[in-house]
């Protein structure tokens, strides 16, 4: 019988979950390392975009994969953990810096009192998925920052099960692995880098990711300022992507699909709503796209330009100006709500990971797939990549990439030919 092989997967988003699940299904012991208090990454926050008919966004499959992983006996999950040191002597010895775990999962009954005590948008965080356990987590860093000023302890006091202990201490850990899969994903483009859109200042300027969360939680689109459905809605594509001035010379691949799918869904639910999509080039959303696109052209208004400024108006709406196509006359238009289709940027931890695991970053800051057509291999023996750490991908492509990484890992740890 083969001795049990151990693989560390870093990152608990859809790629990490998939790699972990595939490896565990093949009899490998997996340590799954996640920096936050929850599994699921970005993709678990996305909404279903079906318009009676499924639009293949894949958001529901993240739930399914998360459920697989939390139920898998061969996967040990390390939450609030990041690798800080790596030694390679045959196998990998990885030091994990672990944040304190304030909520005892054994005692927590998921009643949500702590979340209510801290308030929406507070330091107690709620899981997007029902499959995380506990469903609540306390952001250790933010709590520490706040705690020095005023030891509020509201969450601790609110817990009927005495499951919260804010004086829990962090404990570092060392894990061993025969191979490593890097799957830390991406970071969404920070809209503050383009301040003229007024994100953060004007409540009704939201990002695509914000809109995903709104639809997922509220079941439809609402304006953050007043909770009402907008009458005029605009999507601005390529915010942060395909931006020569920022040096971001890549298409994020996912923004046209997510924006068009959400726009289609919103239009279906609110046929009266006027939806405008500002774009440079529309990218495909699947192999049936030519057919879907024809319908979209009648339901949505496409304007081939990217507006630069957004000015708030009296009705909490936004005004913008752009050159009209054809006659070139500047037009001013007002919207009740504006969605910035922010793109996929390299993760903030890529440089650290590159140093720790001896992998190479490409000119854009993603981890470079190393050898020819196999995009799961890296420059470092025994280190593999899965998902958007290697470059923009949608959910399906991330899963496929993770499956291929798992297959490469199996070959590596079992010494195939």
């Amino acid at each position: 019988m083969e001795t049990e092989k151990k693989v560390t997967v870093i990152g608990g988003g859809i790629a990490g979950l998939t790699a972990a699940w595939e490896l565990a299904s093949s009899g490998i012991h997996v340590d799954l390392v996640e920096k936050t208090g929850f599994l699921g990454g970005h993709a678990i926050q996305y909404c279903c975009k079906a318009v009676e008919e499924c639009r293949q966004c894949g958001a529901c499959t993240v739930e399914a994969m998360l459920k697989h992983v939390v139920g898998a006996p061969g996967i040990q999950v390390h939450l609030n953990s990041v690798p800080v040191a790596v030694e390679k002597n045959g196998d990998f010895s990885i030091t994990l810096k672990k944040g304190p775990v304030y909520i005892d999962p054994e005692k927590c009954t998921n009643c949500g009192e702590c979340f209510a005590a801290c308030g929406e948008g507070g330091i107690v965080l709620k899981s997007y998925s029902k499959n995380n356990s506990p469903l609540y987590a306390i952001d250790a860093q933010r709590c520490a920052e706040a705690g020095e000023k005023d030891a509020c302890n509201a969450c601790e006091a609110s817990c009927p099960e005495a499951a919260i202990n804010l004086s829990s201490k962090a404990k570092d850990d060392t894990i061993h692995a025969d191979a490593v899969v890097l799957a830390t994903g991406f970071t969404p483009f920070d809209p503050d880098i383009k301040p003229t859109y007024g994100y953060g200042k004007n409540a009704n300027v939201v990002t695509g990711l914000d809109l995903e969360k709104i639809i997922r939680e509220k079941g439809g689109v609402i304006r953050p300022s007043d909770g009402k459905a907008p009458e005029k809605l605009a999507f601005i594509q390529c915010v942060g992507s395909r931006d020569d001035r920022l040096g971001n010379l890549w298409c994020s691949k996912v923004c046209c699909p997510y924006a068009l799918r959400m726009a289609e869904l919103i239009k279906k639910k609110n046929p009266e709503m006027e939806i405008t999509v500002f774009y440079m080039d529309i990218q495909n959303t699947g192999k049936a796209f030519p057919v879907i696109y024809e319908q979209l052209k009648t339901d949505l208004r496409f304007v081939r330009t990217i507006p630069v400024d957004m000015f708030p108006n009296k009705e909490d709406g936004l005004e913008t100006r752009y050159m009209n196509e054809g006659d070139g006359i500047p037009v001013g238009e007002a919207y009740d709500m504006v969605v910035l289709s922010i793109g996929i940027m390299p993760g903030p931890e890529n440089e650290t990971l590159a140093r720790l695991f001896n992998v190479i970053l490409d000119h854009d800051g993603f981890v470079a797939g190393h050898k020819g057509v196999d995009r799961s291999l890296t420059a470092s023996d025994g280190v593999f990549v899965a998902g958007t750490i290697e470059g923009p991908k949608d959910i399906a492509a991330s899963k496929a990439h993770a499956g291929n990484a798992a297959n490469d890992v199996l070959k590596y740890v079992r010494g195939g030919k």
């Binding site: 499924c54 992507s241 691949k253 080039d281 529309i282 049936a288 492509a397 899963k399």
Partner: protein, 566 residues
């Protein structure tokens, strides 16, 4: 047809050989990957293929970085690995059996042959088709297809290195994205050629293009390089007019940026090509009993499956056979096929899963309703219907459709569902809240219900849920029994169209609900008491609003009085 079942203690032995359809770089690459995993791969190709003397450079391979290296590497592996057998000039004439035991009939130069394989992989390659007719242009030395240009530039399937010189000092105009929407592969072909021409120096390059499809690795960078090197890109919404009659091609179009009509003269016009799927795909879909997707690709999109898995266990679809994918993405698919095969085959024995559908051979009248409705091609017959335990995915569609009630799904037997119904309707609720029975697909609605419960979303007091493996398992009898047991209203909650893990389970559920509504109306029961809705697993808030809405409606309608006698 008979299962090669040496069943002992719930374990059956299966074949671990794999038939790969397609002898191009995708098929051979897949075979190499399968052999790497330790299984035997047999490649069939109706033409000569890459191995049997076809062009050394497959179409489109030249546009990928390291494309030719990959082709060479694949050919080398095929040469060295005795787990790979390639059969050029061979066609498939029939496929029978079940995963682990497919019987494949082959024809080769008049010879007939039969093979037993455990799995089949469809790995057909792309073909290209010139779109000059859509532009109203005849091909000539001044009007080229994309492929011809690639050959001239030295990286097409019939590369001619010397031909590039004739392009030097010329003005070249590319037309793309007007005769078709295009995709990252068609865009990449244009961008690669633009750069290759620019790199020769001395030429002028113009590109008229619709939506430039840069959603592929490195394409935005190529696009920028092309512009930096001097190519002019005109992004238009209308197809330009080209007059190829004169000494030079006269091109005219309205440029929305300059807001004026632009007139250009080009020595050479390069017309985009369409990427088309192998014509064999349609026949393959029928032979393999898998779904045909849009534009001739195999495989309907279904997010619940890994992209390479088809609706049938043991049948996989790779790379260009399933979508407009380049070489690296196809390679990723091959890795996933290897992973799936290892899962399916293991060491060649397979434990029979407990949760499968079984046929009561006493009751079976061999009407073959089950064979026709099974979305997973899991049913065959000897003198009675037989369900392959390897292929069955326990959706229960057959069990609900069987007119003899001869099929039961382990874990979801009719008796068990009846008991559950009786139990949930027996409980008295003091509040007098309407009793709602919701049949929930376990892949979607049951998950959404759990989400709603976990996060304390509003749910009616009188809500009772019954989980089924797939909405396809919801018998019309279940729905009617719910009313006779005393439910005030019944909800059938399935996946969205196109999201059913078993393809058509949700469609069957919808039909049955419509039938049941008709029956209810006939006996004077308001059909509004029965509702069909679709959900996804991550739609907790929507679940809450659907069931709450149902409660409101039932409150207005008042209680339903036909209680079960006794």
């Amino acid at each position: 047809m008979k299962e090669e079942g040496h069943k002992s203690n719930g374990v059956i032995r299966i074949s671990t050989d794999v038939l790969v359809v397609g002898g191009g770089v995708t098929g051979l690459g897949t075979a190499a990957k399968i052999a790497e995993t330790g299984y035997r791969a047999i490649v069939v190709e109706s033409g000569p293929g890459l191995w049997g003397g076809g062009p050394a450079m497959p179409p489109l391979a030249g546009i990928d970085e390291g494309g030719q290296d990959n082709v060479n590497e694949v050919l080398d592996k095929v040469k060295k690995d005795d787990l790979i057998e390639v059969m050029p000039h061979t066609t498939i004439t029939g496929v029978a059996g079940v995963p682990g035991d497919f019987h494949v009939k082959l024809a080769s130069n008049g010879d007939k042959k039969e093979l037993v394989v455990g799995a089949v992989v469809a790995a057909t390659d792309f073909l290209t088709r010139p779109l000059n007719e859509a532009y109203g242009l005849d091909l000539s030395d001044a009007v080229l297809t994309q492929t011809r240009l690639e050959n001239m530039l030295g990286y097409g399937p019939d590369a001619d290195d010397k031909a590039a010189e004739s392009l030097s000092g010329k003005s070249i105009l590319f037309l793309a994205g007007f005769a078709q929407e295009g995709n990252p592969i068609t865009t990449k072909r244009v961008l690669k050629s633009v750069l290759a021409v620019e790199d020769m120096g001395g030429s002028t390059v113009h590109v008229c293009i619709g939506n430039i499809k840069v959603a592929g690795d490195g394409l935005e960078r190529l696009y920028k390089e092309g512009r930096d090197k001097g190519a002019s890109f005109y992004k238009l919404t209308e197809m330009p007019t080209v007059n190829a009659g004169g000494k030079k091609n006269a091109v005219s179009f309205f440029d929305p940026v300059l807001r004026e009509t632009v007139e250009l003269e080009a020595d050479t016009v390069v017309i985009e090509e369409e990427i088309v799927t192998d014509g064999i795909n349609e026949d393959l879909a029928e032979l393999l009993r898998i779904d045909l997707g849009s534009s001739g690709y195999l495989q309907k999109d279904n997010v619940h499956r890994f992209p390479v898995n088809s609706n049938r266990e043991g049948v996989y679809v790779v790379g260009p056979a399933r979508d407009a994918l380049g070489m690296a993405e196809s390679y990723t698919d091959m890795g996933n096929v290897a992973l799936e095969l290892a899962r399916l085959f293991g060491d060649g024995t397979k434990e029979v899963p407990s949760e499968i559908a079984v046929v009561d051979r006493e009751k079976c009248a061999i009407c073959l309703t089950c064979y026709r409705c099974c979305p997973h091609g899991a049913i065959y017959w000897d003198d009675k219907a037989v369900i392959s335990p390897v292929a069955c995915q326990a959706c229960g569609t057959c069990a609900s459709e069987c007119p003899q009630d001869a099929i039961q799904v382990n874990g979801f037997q009719d008796d068990g569902i009846a008991d559950q119904l009786e139990e949930c309707c027996r409980e008295e609720n003091a509040s007098g809240a309407p009793l709602i029975v919701a049949f929930c697909c376990r892949n979607s609605a049951a998950e959404a219900e759990q989400m709603a419960t976990s996060f304390n979303m509003k749910l009616p007091e009188g809500l009772k849920t019954i989980t089924v493996p797939c909405a396809g398992k919801i018998d019309i009898d279940y729905i009617l029994s719910a009313f006779t047991e005393g439910a005030d209203g019944v909800l059938v909650l399935s996946c969205h169209t196109g999201n059913c893990k078993s393809e058509t389970g949700n469609a069957f559920a919808r039909w049955r609900v419509n039938d049941a509504k008709r029956m209810l109306a006939e006996v004077g029961i308001d059909p509004e008491r029965l509702c069909f809705e679709t959900l996804a697993s991550n739609m907790g808030p929507e679940f809450s609003s659907i069931v709450s809405g149902m409660e409101e409606k039932l409150k207005e309608m008042g209680p339903f009085h036909v209680k079960k006698a006794g």
